[in-house]
Structures are given as C-alpha cells and as structure tokens.
C-alpha cells in the first residue's frame, strides 16, 4: 500500500499552520478517505466538512496542491507514492477551523436574486414548455453548490473589497438560467449589471476549469449575460425587437 504525506492546514483565522501526517492509502481510496484516516488515527479533532462522499453534496471543497477540488472526487492514484499532498481550506471565505470555512457570503448573494416571475398560465390553467426551451437552463441546474467556482474567482479571491458588488460565477449561472427560462417575464439586466457586478468578470474561465459538474459556466452562462447586456445598446437588436417584441419587464 502506498504511503503519502498529507500536509493539512490546522488552526483558525487567528493562527495556524500546516501539519504533516504520514498515512497509508488503500487501492481505490479518494483524498477524503485519507483525511478521514488521519482524523481517525492521528488527529481526532481535525475539522472537515463532508456529507455524501459521491461528488453530489458539494461539502468537501478544499484546495489540494493549490487547486480548488472536491476531496471526495480526488482519487489517490492521481498522486505519486511518497508525494506530499497539501490540503488547505478554500481561501476566499473566512475560516472557521482547519478545513472548514464560512460560506454564508454565497447564501447572502443567493437571496438578492430576483426570483422567477411566471407568465400567465395557458387557458386550461397549465404551463407548457418544450424540451428545447429548457435544455440550456438544465445544465445550470447540475450545480451542487460546492462553491469551488466562487473560491477560485480572482474577483473576490484576490480583492475582498469586491465582495459587496459581485455575486460570483455560481450566481451568474443561476441568473442566466432564470433569464433563459421560457416562462419567465422579468428582465434582470439592471440587476446583474449593477448589483451582481457581471462586468467585474474578465472571462478568465477559472470557474469553468474547477467545476466538478463540468458546467460551461463562462461560455453558456456569463458570456450570454454579457451579450444580453450588449443587446441593450445594439441598434440592430433594438430594431428587431420593434417588429418582434419580446422585451421582458424590468425587475
């Protein structure tokens, strides 16, 4: 069985450092299993948030060798035997202890998003959508809220002062899903331009790179939002809308 050195951050916001643990890994193990082994055998008080161990709850986000990842989806055969694996808490959010951070920033941002405003139902009292209409938005519904995209986004990771005016990639795909919803009647352009700060995003695609659900956050979510903003100043789109209609109501 290969033996690894895992270098885990231990401490709180007031102070802490990395501590090394030598630990054996069995075949088929993932990094979260190894952390649990450390917790069970060498550091009973190690704080780590986890739940499903199947890449679906989004709890065990951490920075492994400097890259934001889900520990439960990081197989140990990615690493060389005897390699030192560094595990740090996700760095954009306040630390509670060890590998556990306070991600409530994200929940506060979620509350600000204007929800779906449905158009009136069909004469028979029902709503109908075709699969073609909702395929785009369904991609965004795969999000497990692990907040890896939020933590890797340099807009808030490297510039704490931007947190007030920036919702982050997770919420841009939420907004994009609402904007593209076939039954929605609300125009959220002023919201995501001004309050959610989509203009702060410079499309460097780190959010897409770290997404464990492989959602095309930038190409299918953020860029379409930026293009919808551009629609507001495009005379050709303005002219087409004069004939076709299709403007939504402002939020």
């Amino acid at each position: 069985m290969p033996t690894f050195t895992v270098r885990v951050f231990r401490g709180t916001a007031k102070g802490g450092d990395f501590q090394d643990y030598r630990v054996e890994s069995d075949e088929g193990m993932v990094l979260l299993d190894v952390v649990h082994r450390v917790q069970a055998t060498q550091a009973n008080d190690l704080a780590v948030r986890w739940n499903c161990k199947a890449g679906k709850c989004g709890s065990c986000s951490a920075e492994v060798n400097g890259k934001p990842r889900l520990m439960c989806m990081t197989r140990m055969n990615l690493f060389q035997p005897d390699e030192t694996i560094t595990i740090a808490p996700i760095r954009t959010f306040p630390l509670i202890r060890d590998l556990v951070t306070d991600v409530s920033y994200n929940y506060e941002k979620a509350k600000q998003i204007p929800p779906l405003r449905l158009k009136p139902p069909e004469p028979d009292g029902t709503y109908r959508m075709m699969q073609d209409d909702i395929d785009r938005a369904q991609e965004f519904h795969k999000c497990i809220e692990c907040f890896l995209c939020q933590t890797v986004c340099h807009v808030v990771r490297d510039h704490e002062e931007n947190k007030k005016a920036f919702a982050g990639p997770r919420y841009f795909i939420k907004i994009a899903g609402l904007e593209m919803h076939p039954l929605d009647t609300l125009n959220r352009t002023p919201f995501y331009r001004d309050a959610a700060g989509v203009g702060l995003c410079n499309i460097t695609k780190c959010c897409t790179e770290v997404c464990p659900e492989h959602i095309h956050i930038t190409d299918n979510g953020i860029i379409p939002l930026k293009e919808r903003m551009a629609d507001e100043v495009d005379p050709i789109v303005w002219l087409l809308r004069k004939f076709r209609g299709g403007r939504k109501e402002p939020a």
């Binding site: 916001a13 890259k67 740090a88 760095r91 990771r157 076939p182 930038t218 860029i223």
Partner: protein, 278 residues
C-alpha cells in the same frame, strides 16, 4: 429542532471573519506558468511580425495573391487596389506614405482584441489578472470590465459585424487567386499552391468568425423560447457546436494569417516560386 440547530450554526458561522492565515501566495506545484508563457511568446511574436509586415508597405502582392494583412487594399498606391482607384494616400512625417495595411487592420485587430477567448488569453498572460487559477493577481486593485477602457469590450458585437465584412473581402481575394495574369495581357484560370493557401486562410477565418460567442448570441442565443423560433434554435445549436472549438480556431486562423503573409511575401520577393498545379 433543525431550525434551532441551523440558527446556532448561523450564529457560530457569523463569528468567522478572517481568512485562513496562510502566508504563501499560492500552493500550486504544477507548471502553471507554462501556458501563459506560451501565449506571451506566440501572441507576442504574431503582433511583432504583423506590425513589421504592415509597416513594410511592400511585397504584399504576388499576382494573383493578395496578403490578408493588406486586404482590402484601399489606397491609391496599393499594388493591387481592391476597389479600382482607391483612396488618396496619407503622407505622414518621417514615416512617409501610410501603409494601406493600417487602414484596415483595425477591423480584425479589434475583433480579436475584444474576442472572449483572446480576453482570457491576454488577461492571464499579459495582464496577469490572474496569471493562472488560484495564483494571485499581479495588481492590488481590480475593476474588471466596469470602467474605461475595458468597458468597451462590451462592443465586441460591433467588431463581429465588421469581421463578417472582412470574410466577404477575403473570399473575393480567394476567388481572384484562380485568375492568373498571362504575359502580354489578359488572365487565365489557374490553381497554384498560393490558391490553396488563400482558401485555407479564408476558411479558417470564417471558422473563427462564425464560431464567435457574439455570433452565437445574435443568431439565436438571445431567444428565450426556442420552440417558437425553430430556425434560430437550429442556427444556435449549430453555432454552439463550432463555438466549442473557438479557442482552437482562434489560434489556427491567427497562425495561418501569418503563414499566408509570409508565403506571399517570399513569392513576391522571389525567394520561393509559387508552384502552379493547373
């Protein structure tokens, strides 16, 4: 009970105000610098070469091939004016006659400069914001694309409209690449290696132009109810497929533009001769 637990957790969580005290700016061990460095070398080399080639104002036409860096050729002094007589030449101090390349290169230049893919490439490699994921920005202040001049990136749509015009001009150049001059006057149909070079050039540029995110949005992405706009939906679907290859098309088309100019330049200078197939 659950509500009480959540309430307690929320109270506890609000006590956390500072990030983990980790001194190292980043903990990445891989060669995160390799890709941005490659972009600096390749993109920087192209910018240097194309600027040099545009300043030459010579060797951009080897009948019947016109370099894409000079197409459409608009000045009266053009070796091969696209529209008959052409515009009056612009005289500049020291430099002399302004190269006709500078009359048109702003079009494709701005299209690439505001392209969503190139923005990623140069924000990372030249702006260092960020140079790689989870590696800190080089600057302490960051306002993204919310202020002048970067707020003008929102006008990528207009540059795409212009880029489509260039595809028309370059297609015309590629058609003319079948029309070889005959000694003593007149023209004859023919195919040379340069004909292939120009056709590959326009096909690659069309691939890049029509896989653009702005194109995808204008052609169908703006629609909310696809089932009521089937043509736009099919168009959007098709463009989405090629949009996935947009980074590839951005690089391949850029490098082929450079290669096309070099090929025509060398033929024009007599360094190599264009092989006639027909």
């Amino acid at each position: 009970m659950i509500r009480e637990i959540l309430k307690d957790q929320r109270g506890h969580v609000r006590g956390a105000v500072a990030r983990a005290p980790i001194a190292a700016p980043h903990l990445r061990k891989d060669a995160w610098w390799a890709l941005p460095l490659t972009v600096v070398i390749v993109l920087g080399s192209f910018v240097v070469y194309s600027t040099w080639a545009a300043l030459q104002n010579a060797h951009y036409y080897a009948a019947p091939y016109l370099s894409p860096l000079y197409s459409p050729c608009l000045s009266a002094s053009c070796l091969h004016p696209t529209f008959g007589g052409g515009l009056p030449d612009i005289q500049l101090p020291i430099i002399g006659i302004l190269s006709p390349a500078f009359l048109i290169l702003w079009g494709p230049g701005l299209f690439r400069l505001s392209c969503y893919y190139y923005r990623k490439a140069y924000y990372r490699s030249f702006w260092l914001a960020p140079v790689a994921c989870a590696v800190p920005d080089a600057r302490s202040k960051y306002t993204g694309e919310t202020r002048f001049p970067l707020i003008l990136q929102a006008f990528h749509r207009y540059t795409w409209y212009v880029a489509v015009l260039f595809i028309v001009f370059l297609t015309w150049d590629s058609i003319l690449a079948f029309r070889f001059p005959v000694p003593g006057g007149g023209h004859t149909f023919g195919i040379g290696i340069g004909t292939f070079v120009l056709w590959i050039n326009v096909i690659l540029l069309a691939w890049y132009t029509f896989s653009c995110h702005a194109c995808r949005h204008v052609c169908g992405g703006h629609v909310d109810v696809f089932s009521k706009a089937q043509t736009r939906y099919k168009l959007w679907h098709a463009i989405t497929r090629i949009n996935e290859t947009h980074p590839m098309s951005a690089w391949v088309s850029l490098l082929w533009v450079g290669f096309t100019d070099i090929y025509i330049r060398l033929v024009s200078m007599g360094v190599i001769s264009d092989l006639r197939i027909i």
